[in-house]
Amino acid sequence: MSVTEAAPNGVARTTSAQFHSFLPGLTMPAGHAAAAADDLAELTDREVEQAYVAAEEERLLGHSHSLLTDMLSIEGVLADAAAAVVDDSFNKCFTSTPSDPWNWNLYLFPMWLLGVVFRYVILFPLRLFGLIACFAAFFLMFFPVKALWPPGRTKLAVEQRLIRFMCGGFVLSWTGVIRFHGPRPIRGAGRVWVANHTSMIDYIILSSYSAFAVIMQLHSGWVGFLQTQCLDSLGCLWFNRTEVKDRHLVAQRMRQHVHADATPLLIFPEGTCVNNEYCVMFKRGAFEMDAVVHPIAIKYNKIFVDAFWNSRRQSFTQHLLKLMTSWAVVADVYFLEPQRRREGEGTDGFASRVQEMIARKANLRVVPWDGYLKYYNLGEKHPGLIEKRRRVYADVLRKYLRPSEAGGGAGAGGARPGSGGGGRAAGVGRVEEGEEEGEQQQQQQQRPNGAASPETKKVN
Protein backbone atom coordinates (compact mmCIF):
# COMPACT_ATOMS: atom_id res chain seq x y z
CA MET A 1 0.00 0.00 0.00
CA SER A 2 2.03 2.89 -1.22
CA VAL A 3 0.42 6.23 -0.71
CA THR A 4 2.14 7.99 -3.52
CA GLU A 5 1.56 5.35 -6.10
CA ALA A 6 -2.12 5.35 -5.41
CA ALA A 7 -2.68 8.96 -6.40
CA PRO A 8 -3.20 9.59 -10.10
CA ASN A 9 -0.54 11.50 -11.86
CA GLY A 10 -1.17 15.17 -12.21
CA VAL A 11 -3.57 15.43 -9.31
CA ALA A 12 -1.13 17.26 -7.19
CA ARG A 13 0.53 19.55 -9.65
CA THR A 14 0.50 23.02 -8.31
CA THR A 15 -0.37 26.34 -9.78
CA SER A 16 2.70 28.37 -9.02
CA ALA A 17 4.82 29.37 -11.95
CA GLN A 18 7.95 27.28 -12.18
CA PHE A 19 10.65 28.72 -14.27
CA HIS A 20 13.16 26.15 -13.37
CA SER A 21 10.98 23.39 -14.66
CA PHE A 22 12.21 23.42 -18.22
CA LEU A 23 15.59 22.07 -17.26
CA PRO A 24 16.42 18.91 -19.13
CA GLY A 25 18.83 16.73 -17.28
CA LEU A 26 21.37 15.61 -19.72
CA THR A 27 23.42 15.03 -16.68
CA MET A 28 23.25 16.53 -13.31
CA PRO A 29 25.72 17.07 -10.58
CA ALA A 30 24.72 14.94 -7.65
CA GLY A 31 23.07 16.55 -4.70
CA HIS A 32 21.76 19.68 -6.32
CA ALA A 33 18.60 20.86 -7.99
CA ALA A 34 17.42 22.18 -4.66
CA ALA A 35 14.83 24.64 -5.80
CA ALA A 36 13.56 22.33 -8.46
CA ALA A 37 12.13 20.09 -5.83
CA ASP A 38 9.24 22.09 -4.54
CA ASP A 39 6.64 20.92 -6.94
CA LEU A 40 7.50 17.46 -5.80
CA ALA A 41 7.25 18.51 -2.21
CA GLU A 42 3.80 19.85 -2.77
CA LEU A 43 2.86 16.89 -4.86
CA THR A 44 3.82 14.31 -2.30
CA ASP A 45 2.65 16.51 0.52
CA ARG A 46 -0.84 16.65 -0.67
CA GLU A 47 -1.11 13.00 -1.52
CA VAL A 48 0.35 11.89 1.75
CA GLU A 49 -1.88 14.26 3.58
CA GLN A 50 -5.06 13.16 1.85
CA ALA A 51 -4.40 9.49 2.30
CA TYR A 52 -3.41 9.89 5.91
CA VAL A 53 -6.23 12.13 6.94
CA ALA A 54 -8.71 9.80 5.31
CA ALA A 55 -7.23 6.77 7.00
CA GLU A 56 -7.08 8.43 10.38
CA GLU A 57 -10.61 9.75 10.21
CA GLU A 58 -11.86 6.32 9.40
CA ARG A 59 -9.93 4.94 12.29
CA LEU A 60 -11.16 7.54 14.74
CA LEU A 61 -14.77 7.16 13.69
CA GLY A 62 -14.68 3.39 13.73
CA HIS A 63 -13.24 2.73 17.16
CA SER A 64 -12.60 4.34 20.42
CA HIS A 65 -9.31 3.02 21.68
CA SER A 66 -7.50 3.46 24.88
CA LEU A 67 -4.44 5.66 25.04
CA LEU A 68 -2.08 2.72 25.19
CA THR A 69 -3.64 1.04 22.16
CA ASP A 70 -3.38 4.26 20.18
CA MET A 71 0.23 4.68 21.18
CA LEU A 72 1.12 1.15 20.12
CA SER A 73 -0.81 1.24 16.87
CA ILE A 74 1.98 1.64 14.38
CA GLU A 75 1.16 -1.16 12.01
CA GLY A 76 0.00 1.21 9.27
CA VAL A 77 3.20 3.22 9.31
CA LEU A 78 5.27 0.06 9.39
CA ALA A 79 3.35 -1.51 6.54
CA ASP A 80 4.05 1.59 4.49
CA ALA A 81 7.74 1.27 5.20
CA ALA A 82 7.72 -2.44 4.38
CA ALA A 83 5.89 -1.77 1.12
CA ALA A 84 8.60 0.70 0.16
CA VAL A 85 11.31 -1.81 0.99
CA VAL A 86 9.62 -4.51 -1.07
CA ASP A 87 8.90 -2.39 -4.09
CA ASP A 88 9.14 1.23 -5.11
CA SER A 89 8.21 2.76 -8.37
CA PHE A 90 11.01 5.30 -8.29
CA ASN A 91 14.15 3.21 -8.51
CA LYS A 92 12.62 1.09 -11.23
CA CYS A 93 12.76 4.10 -13.54
CA PHE A 94 16.52 4.17 -13.42
CA THR A 95 17.63 0.58 -13.56
CA SER A 96 19.31 -0.58 -16.72
CA THR A 97 18.08 -3.77 -18.28
CA PRO A 98 20.67 -6.52 -17.99
CA SER A 99 21.65 -7.84 -21.38
CA ASP A 100 19.86 -11.01 -22.34
CA PRO A 101 22.41 -13.84 -22.37
CA TRP A 102 22.05 -16.18 -25.28
CA ASN A 103 25.36 -18.05 -25.14
CA TRP A 104 23.61 -20.76 -23.24
CA ASN A 105 24.81 -23.87 -24.94
CA LEU A 106 27.86 -25.40 -26.47
CA TYR A 107 26.74 -24.76 -30.06
CA LEU A 108 25.93 -21.12 -29.59
CA PHE A 109 28.86 -20.26 -27.38
CA PRO A 110 31.49 -20.26 -30.18
CA MET A 111 29.17 -18.16 -32.29
CA TRP A 112 28.71 -15.73 -29.48
CA LEU A 113 32.47 -15.62 -28.89
CA LEU A 114 33.00 -14.98 -32.58
CA GLY A 115 30.53 -12.13 -32.34
CA VAL A 116 32.34 -10.62 -29.37
CA VAL A 117 35.67 -10.78 -31.17
CA PHE A 118 34.14 -9.32 -34.31
CA ARG A 119 32.50 -6.48 -32.43
CA TYR A 120 35.52 -5.51 -30.38
CA VAL A 121 38.38 -6.28 -32.74
CA ILE A 122 36.99 -5.40 -36.15
CA LEU A 123 33.81 -3.39 -35.82
CA PHE A 124 34.91 -1.09 -33.03
CA PRO A 125 38.21 0.13 -34.57
CA LEU A 126 36.47 0.70 -37.89
CA ARG A 127 33.75 2.71 -36.21
CA LEU A 128 36.22 4.68 -34.13
CA PHE A 129 38.25 5.48 -37.21
CA GLY A 130 35.10 6.53 -39.06
CA LEU A 131 34.04 8.74 -36.18
CA ILE A 132 37.44 10.40 -35.96
CA ALA A 133 37.51 11.00 -39.71
CA CYS A 134 34.03 12.43 -39.54
CA PHE A 135 35.06 14.73 -36.70
CA ALA A 136 38.16 15.87 -38.54
CA ALA A 137 36.14 16.73 -41.62
CA PHE A 138 33.57 18.48 -39.47
CA PHE A 139 36.10 20.63 -37.66
CA LEU A 140 37.94 21.47 -40.88
CA MET A 141 34.74 22.82 -42.38
CA PHE A 142 32.93 24.13 -39.36
CA PHE A 143 35.49 26.46 -37.83
CA PRO A 144 36.34 28.31 -41.05
CA VAL A 145 32.61 28.76 -41.69
CA LYS A 146 32.06 29.96 -38.17
CA ALA A 147 34.96 32.41 -38.27
CA LEU A 148 34.83 33.72 -41.82
CA TRP A 149 31.29 33.43 -43.23
CA PRO A 150 29.29 36.66 -42.91
CA PRO A 151 26.43 36.24 -40.43
CA GLY A 152 23.01 35.56 -41.84
CA ARG A 153 20.52 32.92 -42.90
CA THR A 154 22.90 31.06 -45.19
CA LYS A 155 25.54 30.79 -42.52
CA LEU A 156 23.06 29.28 -40.08
CA ALA A 157 21.84 26.85 -42.73
CA VAL A 158 25.40 25.73 -43.48
CA GLU A 159 26.18 25.33 -39.81
CA GLN A 160 23.01 23.32 -39.29
CA ARG A 161 23.92 21.08 -42.17
CA LEU A 162 27.42 20.51 -40.78
CA ILE A 163 26.12 19.66 -37.31
CA ARG A 164 23.65 17.23 -38.83
CA PHE A 165 26.60 15.67 -40.62
CA MET A 166 28.53 15.33 -37.36
CA CYS A 167 25.54 13.79 -35.56
CA GLY A 168 25.08 11.48 -38.52
CA GLY A 169 28.67 10.37 -37.97
CA PHE A 170 27.82 9.47 -34.37
CA VAL A 171 24.74 7.52 -35.40
CA LEU A 172 26.81 5.67 -38.00
CA SER A 173 29.39 4.79 -35.35
CA TRP A 174 26.83 2.68 -33.52
CA THR A 175 25.24 1.47 -36.74
CA GLY A 176 22.08 3.29 -35.72
CA VAL A 177 18.99 1.78 -37.23
CA ILE A 178 16.59 4.62 -36.62
CA ARG A 179 13.13 4.74 -38.09
CA PHE A 180 11.55 8.17 -38.15
CA HIS A 181 7.77 8.35 -38.30
CA GLY A 182 5.73 11.45 -38.95
CA PRO A 183 6.44 14.78 -40.59
CA ARG A 184 9.91 16.32 -40.48
CA PRO A 185 10.18 19.29 -38.09
CA ILE A 186 10.36 22.75 -39.61
CA ARG A 187 11.61 26.10 -38.49
CA GLY A 188 9.08 28.61 -37.27
CA ALA A 189 8.18 30.90 -34.43
CA GLY A 190 5.97 29.74 -31.60
CA ARG A 191 6.82 26.04 -31.74
CA VAL A 192 8.64 23.86 -29.26
CA TRP A 193 9.49 20.15 -29.43
CA VAL A 194 9.39 17.96 -26.33
CA ALA A 195 10.64 14.39 -26.09
CA ASN A 196 11.12 11.66 -23.53
CA HIS A 197 14.70 11.33 -22.40
CA THR A 198 16.82 8.20 -22.25
CA SER A 199 20.35 9.32 -23.01
CA MET A 200 22.23 12.20 -24.53
CA ILE A 201 22.12 10.22 -27.76
CA ASP A 202 18.46 11.25 -28.01
CA TYR A 203 19.68 14.63 -29.11
CA ILE A 204 22.28 13.20 -31.48
CA ILE A 205 19.71 10.96 -33.13
CA LEU A 206 17.18 13.73 -33.56
CA SER A 207 19.82 16.14 -34.81
CA SER A 208 21.08 13.73 -37.41
CA TYR A 209 17.59 13.95 -38.91
CA SER A 210 16.79 17.61 -38.46
CA ALA A 211 18.71 20.39 -36.72
CA PHE A 212 17.56 21.18 -33.19
CA ALA A 213 18.59 23.68 -30.59
CA VAL A 214 18.50 22.08 -27.16
CA ILE A 215 18.59 23.21 -23.56
CA MET A 216 21.10 21.29 -21.55
CA GLN A 217 23.40 21.14 -18.61
CA LEU A 218 26.88 22.35 -19.49
CA HIS A 219 29.32 19.45 -19.40
CA SER A 220 33.04 19.36 -18.99
CA GLY A 221 35.59 17.74 -21.30
CA TRP A 222 35.06 17.15 -24.98
CA VAL A 223 31.27 17.28 -24.68
CA GLY A 224 31.59 20.73 -23.18
CA PHE A 225 33.90 21.77 -26.00
CA LEU A 226 31.35 20.69 -28.62
CA GLN A 227 28.63 22.47 -26.70
CA THR A 228 30.34 25.80 -26.35
CA GLN A 229 32.21 25.88 -29.67
CA CYS A 230 29.82 24.23 -32.14
CA LEU A 231 26.26 23.78 -30.88
CA ASP A 232 26.40 27.35 -29.71
CA SER A 233 25.76 28.47 -33.28
CA LEU A 234 22.34 26.82 -33.35
CA GLY A 235 21.20 28.79 -30.34
CA CYS A 236 21.49 25.90 -27.88
CA LEU A 237 21.07 27.10 -24.32
CA TRP A 238 22.98 25.75 -21.39
CA PHE A 239 23.39 26.55 -17.82
CA ASN A 240 24.77 25.32 -14.62
CA ARG A 241 21.93 23.71 -12.77
CA THR A 242 23.31 24.86 -9.48
CA GLU A 243 23.19 28.54 -10.42
CA VAL A 244 19.81 30.08 -9.78
CA LYS A 245 20.79 33.09 -11.89
CA ASP A 246 21.66 30.82 -14.79
CA ARG A 247 18.28 29.23 -14.67
CA HIS A 248 16.45 32.52 -14.86
CA LEU A 249 18.61 33.71 -17.67
CA VAL A 250 17.92 30.52 -19.60
CA ALA A 251 14.20 30.85 -18.94
CA GLN A 252 14.21 34.27 -20.53
CA ARG A 253 16.34 33.24 -23.45
CA MET A 254 14.19 30.20 -24.02
CA ARG A 255 11.14 32.40 -24.45
CA GLN A 256 12.98 34.65 -26.84
CA HIS A 257 14.21 31.67 -28.81
CA VAL A 258 10.79 30.07 -29.14
CA HIS A 259 9.14 33.22 -30.32
CA ALA A 260 11.84 34.06 -32.83
CA ASP A 261 12.19 32.36 -36.18
CA ALA A 262 15.17 30.25 -35.16
CA THR A 263 16.36 26.63 -35.12
CA PRO A 264 13.59 24.41 -33.66
CA LEU A 265 13.93 24.20 -29.88
CA LEU A 266 14.00 20.77 -28.26
CA ILE A 267 13.26 20.28 -24.58
CA PHE A 268 13.41 17.13 -22.46
CA PRO A 269 10.81 17.92 -19.80
CA GLU A 270 11.64 14.91 -17.64
CA GLY A 271 14.85 16.68 -16.70
CA THR A 272 16.83 13.47 -16.34
CA CYS A 273 17.58 10.24 -18.19
CA VAL A 274 15.00 7.49 -17.61
CA ASN A 275 15.41 3.87 -18.70
CA ASN A 276 12.89 4.05 -21.56
CA GLU A 277 10.41 1.86 -19.67
CA TYR A 278 8.95 4.55 -17.43
CA CYS A 279 8.15 8.20 -17.82
CA VAL A 280 8.75 10.48 -14.83
CA MET A 281 6.99 13.77 -14.16
CA PHE A 282 7.11 16.37 -16.92
CA LYS A 283 8.36 19.71 -15.70
CA ARG A 284 6.28 22.56 -16.90
CA GLY A 285 8.60 25.11 -18.46
CA ALA A 286 7.98 23.96 -22.02
CA PHE A 287 4.22 24.12 -21.58
CA GLU A 288 3.75 27.64 -20.28
CA MET A 289 5.24 29.59 -23.18
CA ASP A 290 2.09 29.88 -25.33
CA ALA A 291 3.85 27.86 -27.97
CA VAL A 292 2.57 24.94 -29.99
CA VAL A 293 4.03 21.81 -28.42
CA HIS A 294 5.22 19.06 -30.76
CA PRO A 295 5.58 15.80 -28.86
CA ILE A 296 8.30 13.38 -29.92
CA ALA A 297 8.25 9.80 -28.66
CA ILE A 298 11.52 7.89 -28.77
CA LYS A 299 11.47 4.16 -28.20
CA TYR A 300 14.67 2.15 -28.16
CA ASN A 301 14.73 -1.50 -29.00
CA LYS A 302 16.89 -3.27 -26.44
CA ILE A 303 17.64 -6.24 -28.62
CA PHE A 304 21.36 -5.41 -28.93
CA VAL A 305 22.08 -2.76 -26.32
CA ASP A 306 20.24 -0.79 -23.66
CA ALA A 307 20.51 2.86 -24.67
CA PHE A 308 19.77 4.14 -21.17
CA TRP A 309 22.58 6.36 -19.94
CA ASN A 310 22.98 5.76 -16.22
CA SER A 311 24.94 8.93 -15.68
CA ARG A 312 25.82 8.10 -12.10
CA ARG A 313 27.46 4.83 -13.06
CA GLN A 314 29.24 5.74 -16.28
CA SER A 315 30.57 8.78 -18.07
CA PHE A 316 29.23 9.72 -21.46
CA THR A 317 32.41 8.44 -23.08
CA GLN A 318 31.91 5.05 -21.45
CA HIS A 319 28.30 5.10 -22.57
CA LEU A 320 29.39 5.77 -26.16
CA LEU A 321 31.94 2.97 -25.98
CA LYS A 322 29.19 0.60 -24.88
CA LEU A 323 27.11 1.63 -27.87
CA MET A 324 30.06 1.45 -30.28
CA THR A 325 30.91 -2.11 -29.29
CA SER A 326 27.35 -3.35 -29.73
CA TRP A 327 25.90 -4.65 -32.96
CA ALA A 328 23.51 -1.79 -33.47
CA VAL A 329 21.30 0.79 -31.80
CA VAL A 330 17.72 0.27 -32.91
CA ALA A 331 15.14 2.95 -32.27
CA ASP A 332 11.84 4.33 -33.44
CA VAL A 333 11.19 8.05 -33.37
CA TYR A 334 7.64 9.32 -33.68
CA PHE A 335 6.86 12.94 -34.43
CA LEU A 336 3.35 13.22 -33.00
CA GLU A 337 0.55 15.63 -33.71
CA PRO A 338 1.22 19.17 -32.42
CA GLN A 339 -0.79 20.12 -29.34
CA ARG A 340 -2.08 23.45 -28.12
CA ARG A 341 -3.26 24.24 -24.67
CA ARG A 342 -7.02 23.76 -24.58
CA GLU A 343 -9.55 26.27 -23.41
CA GLY A 344 -9.55 26.25 -19.61
CA GLU A 345 -6.73 23.74 -19.38
CA GLY A 346 -3.99 24.44 -16.86
CA THR A 347 -0.29 24.09 -17.56
CA ASP A 348 -0.29 20.90 -15.51
CA GLY A 349 -3.14 19.36 -17.41
CA PHE A 350 -1.45 20.27 -20.66
CA ALA A 351 1.86 18.77 -19.57
CA SER A 352 0.13 15.61 -18.39
CA ARG A 353 -1.78 15.28 -21.64
CA VAL A 354 1.37 15.56 -23.75
CA GLN A 355 3.18 13.16 -21.42
CA GLU A 356 0.30 10.72 -21.80
CA MET A 357 0.58 10.92 -25.61
CA ILE A 358 4.31 10.26 -25.58
CA ALA A 359 4.05 7.50 -23.01
CA ARG A 360 1.34 5.72 -24.99
CA LYS A 361 3.28 5.89 -28.24
CA ALA A 362 6.60 4.81 -26.74
CA ASN A 363 4.91 2.27 -24.47
CA LEU A 364 6.18 3.84 -21.24
CA ARG A 365 4.59 3.65 -17.82
CA VAL A 366 3.86 7.03 -16.27
CA VAL A 367 4.99 7.50 -12.67
CA PRO A 368 4.40 10.64 -10.60
CA TRP A 369 7.97 11.09 -9.38
CA ASP A 370 10.19 14.06 -10.02
CA GLY A 371 13.31 12.77 -11.75
CA TYR A 372 15.52 15.02 -9.65
CA LEU A 373 14.86 12.72 -6.70
CA LYS A 374 17.69 10.67 -8.13
CA TYR A 375 20.03 13.23 -6.71
CA TYR A 376 18.88 13.73 -3.18
CA ASN A 377 17.19 12.01 -0.28
CA LEU A 378 13.57 13.11 -0.13
CA GLY A 379 13.24 12.95 3.63
CA GLU A 380 16.39 14.93 4.28
CA LYS A 381 15.47 17.57 1.75
CA HIS A 382 11.92 17.92 2.95
CA PRO A 383 11.66 17.27 6.65
CA GLY A 384 8.23 18.87 6.41
CA LEU A 385 6.92 15.78 4.66
CA ILE A 386 7.76 13.57 7.61
CA GLU A 387 6.50 16.18 10.06
CA LYS A 388 3.11 16.19 8.40
CA ARG A 389 2.71 12.48 8.79
CA ARG A 390 3.87 12.69 12.36
CA ARG A 391 1.37 15.39 13.14
CA VAL A 392 -1.48 12.99 12.43
CA TYR A 393 -0.16 10.57 15.02
CA ALA A 394 0.57 13.34 17.49
CA ASP A 395 -2.92 14.75 17.14
CA VAL A 396 -4.45 11.42 18.08
CA LEU A 397 -2.39 11.40 21.26
CA ARG A 398 -2.90 15.04 22.04
CA LYS A 399 -6.58 14.54 22.58
CA TYR A 400 -5.67 12.44 25.63
CA LEU A 401 -3.37 15.14 26.85
CA ARG A 402 -5.77 18.03 26.68
CA PRO A 403 -9.32 16.82 26.16
CA SER A 404 -10.45 20.32 25.25
CA GLU A 405 -8.50 20.15 22.02
CA ALA A 406 -10.16 16.95 20.91
CA GLY A 407 -11.35 16.91 17.35
CA GLY A 408 -9.40 19.99 16.42
CA GLY A 409 -6.37 18.16 15.24
CA ALA A 410 -6.74 14.94 13.40
CA GLY A 411 -9.50 16.01 11.07
CA ALA A 412 -7.83 19.04 9.59
CA GLY A 413 -4.72 17.77 7.90
CA GLY A 414 -3.19 21.07 6.99
CA ALA A 415 -3.92 22.74 10.32
CA ARG A 416 -0.94 23.88 12.26
CA PRO A 417 -0.78 22.38 15.71
CA GLY A 418 -2.23 24.56 18.37
CA SER A 419 -0.64 26.02 21.43
CA GLY A 420 1.54 24.26 23.96
CA GLY A 421 3.42 21.26 22.68
CA GLY A 422 3.31 22.33 19.07
CA GLY A 423 5.87 25.08 19.46
CA ARG A 424 8.78 23.62 17.57
CA ALA A 425 6.70 22.09 14.87
CA ALA A 426 4.92 25.34 14.19
CA GLY A 427 8.33 26.86 13.78
CA VAL A 428 9.24 24.28 11.18
CA GLY A 429 5.94 24.93 9.45
CA ARG A 430 6.59 28.62 9.28
CA VAL A 431 10.00 28.22 7.74
CA GLU A 432 8.47 25.87 5.25
CA GLU A 433 5.83 28.35 4.27
CA GLY A 434 8.42 31.03 3.99
CA GLU A 435 10.38 28.87 1.65
CA GLU A 436 7.43 28.16 -0.58
CA GLU A 437 6.38 31.75 -0.77
CA GLY A 438 9.91 32.86 -1.43
CA GLU A 439 10.20 30.40 -4.27
CA GLN A 440 6.95 31.35 -5.88
CA GLN A 441 7.67 35.01 -5.76
CA GLN A 442 11.05 34.42 -7.18
CA GLN A 443 9.71 32.35 -9.99
CA GLN A 444 6.86 34.62 -10.88
CA GLN A 445 8.93 37.73 -11.04
CA GLN A 446 12.08 36.08 -12.29
CA ARG A 447 13.99 37.83 -9.63
CA PRO A 448 17.54 36.68 -9.38
CA ASN A 449 18.61 34.79 -6.33
CA GLY A 450 16.26 36.15 -3.72
CA ALA A 451 15.47 35.11 -0.21
CA ALA A 452 14.74 31.57 -1.21
CA SER A 453 18.15 29.98 -1.17
CA PRO A 454 19.18 30.93 2.35
CA GLU A 455 15.75 29.83 3.53
CA THR A 456 16.17 26.49 1.85
CA LYS A 457 19.46 25.98 3.55
CA LYS A 458 17.99 26.85 6.88
CA VAL A 459 15.29 24.24 6.55
CA ASN A 460 17.69 21.55 5.62
Partner: protein, 177 residues
Amino acid sequence: MGQAISGGLTQNDVDEVVGACKGAFSQEEVESLYRRFRSLDRGLKGYIGSEELLAIPELSINPLAQRVLRLFESVNFLEFVKLLAPFTARVSREDKLQFLFTVFDVDGDGLVSPDDMHVMLRQLAGSTLTDDDIGALIARGLDGAGSPRGLTLQGFKAALAGRDLGAMEVVVPSDLS
Protein backbone atom coordinates in the same frame (compact mmCIF):
# COMPACT_ATOMS: atom_id res chain seq x y z
CA MET B 1 26.80 -22.82 -19.08
CA GLY B 2 23.23 -22.45 -17.93
CA GLN B 3 21.83 -19.07 -17.09
CA ALA B 4 19.83 -18.82 -13.90
CA ILE B 5 17.33 -16.03 -14.25
CA SER B 6 16.52 -16.23 -10.55
CA GLY B 7 20.05 -15.01 -9.88
CA GLY B 8 21.41 -18.25 -8.47
CA LEU B 9 18.87 -19.37 -5.88
CA THR B 10 18.68 -23.14 -5.63
CA GLN B 11 15.65 -25.10 -4.49
CA ASN B 12 17.50 -25.65 -1.22
CA ASP B 13 17.89 -21.94 -0.69
CA VAL B 14 14.26 -21.30 -1.47
CA ASP B 15 13.13 -24.13 0.82
CA GLU B 16 15.26 -22.77 3.61
CA VAL B 17 13.84 -19.28 3.21
CA VAL B 18 10.25 -20.49 2.91
CA GLY B 19 10.78 -22.60 6.02
CA ALA B 20 12.36 -19.77 7.98
CA CYS B 21 9.45 -17.45 7.31
CA LYS B 22 6.96 -20.25 8.13
CA GLY B 23 5.50 -20.28 4.65
CA ALA B 24 4.62 -16.59 4.67
CA PHE B 25 5.92 -16.25 1.12
CA SER B 26 5.51 -18.54 -1.84
CA GLN B 27 8.46 -19.65 -3.92
CA GLU B 28 7.63 -17.07 -6.56
CA GLU B 29 7.50 -14.32 -3.97
CA VAL B 30 10.83 -15.39 -2.51
CA GLU B 31 12.40 -15.16 -5.96
CA SER B 32 10.89 -11.75 -6.44
CA LEU B 33 12.16 -10.59 -3.04
CA TYR B 34 15.59 -11.92 -3.90
CA ARG B 35 15.73 -9.86 -7.07
CA ARG B 36 14.64 -6.84 -5.08
CA PHE B 37 17.25 -7.53 -2.41
CA ARG B 38 19.96 -7.76 -5.04
CA SER B 39 18.87 -4.58 -6.78
CA LEU B 40 18.88 -2.64 -3.49
CA ASP B 41 22.26 -4.10 -2.57
CA ARG B 42 24.19 -2.08 -5.13
CA GLY B 43 27.65 -3.47 -4.54
CA LEU B 44 26.34 -7.06 -4.18
CA LYS B 45 27.79 -7.12 -0.68
CA GLY B 46 25.18 -9.52 0.62
CA TYR B 47 23.43 -6.94 2.75
CA ILE B 48 21.70 -3.60 2.27
CA GLY B 49 23.30 -0.47 3.66
CA SER B 50 21.36 2.36 5.28
CA GLU B 51 22.25 4.75 2.44
CA GLU B 52 20.76 2.36 -0.05
CA LEU B 53 17.57 2.07 1.99
CA LEU B 54 17.22 5.82 2.37
CA ALA B 55 17.51 6.23 -1.40
CA ILE B 56 13.95 4.86 -1.58
CA PRO B 57 11.90 8.05 -1.54
CA GLU B 58 8.82 6.49 0.05
CA LEU B 59 10.89 5.07 2.88
CA SER B 60 12.87 8.22 3.51
CA ILE B 61 9.69 10.14 4.38
CA ASN B 62 8.36 7.47 6.71
CA PRO B 63 8.15 8.66 10.34
CA LEU B 64 9.71 5.39 11.48
CA ALA B 65 12.44 5.45 8.84
CA GLN B 66 15.24 5.45 11.43
CA ARG B 67 13.80 2.52 13.36
CA VAL B 68 13.13 0.56 10.17
CA LEU B 69 16.66 1.33 9.05
CA ARG B 70 18.07 -0.13 12.25
CA LEU B 71 16.06 -3.29 11.70
CA PHE B 72 16.85 -3.73 8.02
CA GLU B 73 20.39 -2.52 7.57
CA SER B 74 23.16 -5.08 7.31
CA VAL B 75 20.86 -8.10 7.37
CA ASN B 76 21.33 -10.98 4.98
CA PHE B 77 18.62 -12.19 2.64
CA LEU B 78 17.21 -14.72 5.08
CA GLU B 79 16.82 -12.10 7.79
CA PHE B 80 15.41 -9.70 5.23
CA VAL B 81 12.62 -12.13 4.35
CA LYS B 82 11.95 -12.88 8.02
CA LEU B 83 11.53 -9.18 8.72
CA LEU B 84 9.02 -8.87 5.90
CA ALA B 85 7.09 -12.04 6.76
CA PRO B 86 4.78 -10.35 9.32
CA PHE B 87 3.40 -8.22 6.50
CA THR B 88 1.51 -11.05 4.84
CA ALA B 89 -1.92 -12.50 5.39
CA ARG B 90 -0.44 -15.97 5.86
CA VAL B 91 1.20 -15.09 9.15
CA SER B 92 -0.70 -15.50 12.40
CA ARG B 93 -1.83 -12.59 14.49
CA GLU B 94 0.47 -13.78 17.24
CA ASP B 95 3.49 -13.42 14.97
CA LYS B 96 2.44 -9.99 13.86
CA LEU B 97 2.12 -8.85 17.46
CA GLN B 98 5.46 -10.41 18.25
CA PHE B 99 7.02 -8.40 15.44
CA LEU B 100 5.41 -5.15 16.59
CA PHE B 101 6.77 -5.89 20.05
CA THR B 102 10.26 -6.28 18.61
CA VAL B 103 9.93 -2.95 16.87
CA PHE B 104 8.88 -1.26 20.10
CA ASP B 105 11.51 -3.03 22.17
CA VAL B 106 14.27 -0.72 21.00
CA ASP B 107 16.99 -1.99 23.35
CA GLY B 108 15.99 -5.60 22.79
CA ASP B 109 15.73 -6.62 26.46
CA GLY B 110 12.31 -8.25 26.11
CA LEU B 111 10.52 -5.42 27.86
CA VAL B 112 9.00 -2.33 26.27
CA SER B 113 10.21 0.09 28.89
CA PRO B 114 9.21 3.74 29.18
CA ASP B 115 12.55 4.60 27.58
CA ASP B 116 11.84 2.38 24.57
CA MET B 117 8.46 3.99 24.19
CA HIS B 118 9.98 7.42 24.46
CA VAL B 119 12.31 6.70 21.56
CA MET B 120 9.45 5.37 19.47
CA LEU B 121 7.02 8.16 20.29
CA ARG B 122 9.62 10.77 19.52
CA GLN B 123 9.99 9.29 16.04
CA LEU B 124 6.27 8.80 15.57
CA ALA B 125 5.14 12.17 16.81
CA GLY B 126 8.15 14.22 15.81
CA SER B 127 8.55 17.61 17.38
CA THR B 128 4.85 18.31 17.78
CA LEU B 129 4.89 16.87 21.29
CA THR B 130 7.32 18.02 23.94
CA ASP B 131 9.40 15.60 25.98
CA ASP B 132 7.17 16.29 28.98
CA ASP B 133 4.03 15.55 26.99
CA ILE B 134 5.46 12.28 25.76
CA GLY B 135 6.59 11.36 29.26
CA ALA B 136 3.15 12.11 30.64
CA LEU B 137 1.43 10.11 27.92
CA ILE B 138 3.66 7.10 28.45
CA ALA B 139 3.24 7.21 32.21
CA ARG B 140 -0.52 7.43 31.90
CA GLY B 141 -0.70 4.71 29.28
CA LEU B 142 1.46 2.28 31.23
CA ASP B 143 -0.32 3.03 34.50
CA GLY B 144 -3.60 2.31 32.79
CA ALA B 145 -2.25 -1.11 31.84
CA GLY B 146 -1.08 -1.67 35.40
CA SER B 147 2.59 -2.08 34.46
CA PRO B 148 4.38 1.23 35.00
CA ARG B 149 7.84 -0.31 34.55
CA GLY B 150 7.13 -1.48 31.06
CA LEU B 151 5.19 -3.94 28.95
CA THR B 152 6.09 -7.56 28.59
CA LEU B 153 5.15 -9.38 25.43
CA GLN B 154 1.94 -10.50 27.10
CA GLY B 155 1.05 -7.03 28.27
CA PHE B 156 1.81 -5.73 24.80
CA LYS B 157 -0.48 -8.28 23.18
CA ALA B 158 -3.22 -7.48 25.68
CA ALA B 159 -2.97 -3.78 24.93
CA LEU B 160 -3.51 -4.43 21.23
CA ALA B 161 -6.13 -7.11 21.80
CA GLY B 162 -8.95 -5.28 20.09
CA ARG B 163 -6.82 -3.90 17.32
CA ASP B 164 -7.44 -4.99 13.74
CA LEU B 165 -4.09 -5.67 12.13
CA GLY B 166 -5.49 -6.00 8.63
CA ALA B 167 -3.45 -3.00 7.51
CA MET B 168 -0.27 -4.98 8.07
CA GLU B 169 -0.14 -6.37 4.61
CA VAL B 170 2.20 -5.79 1.73
CA VAL B 171 1.91 -7.10 -1.80
CA VAL B 172 5.06 -8.60 -3.27
CA PRO B 173 5.14 -7.83 -6.97
CA SER B 174 5.18 -11.05 -8.91
CA ASP B 175 6.90 -9.45 -11.87
CA LEU B 176 9.90 -7.36 -10.92
CA SER B 177 11.76 -7.59 -14.17
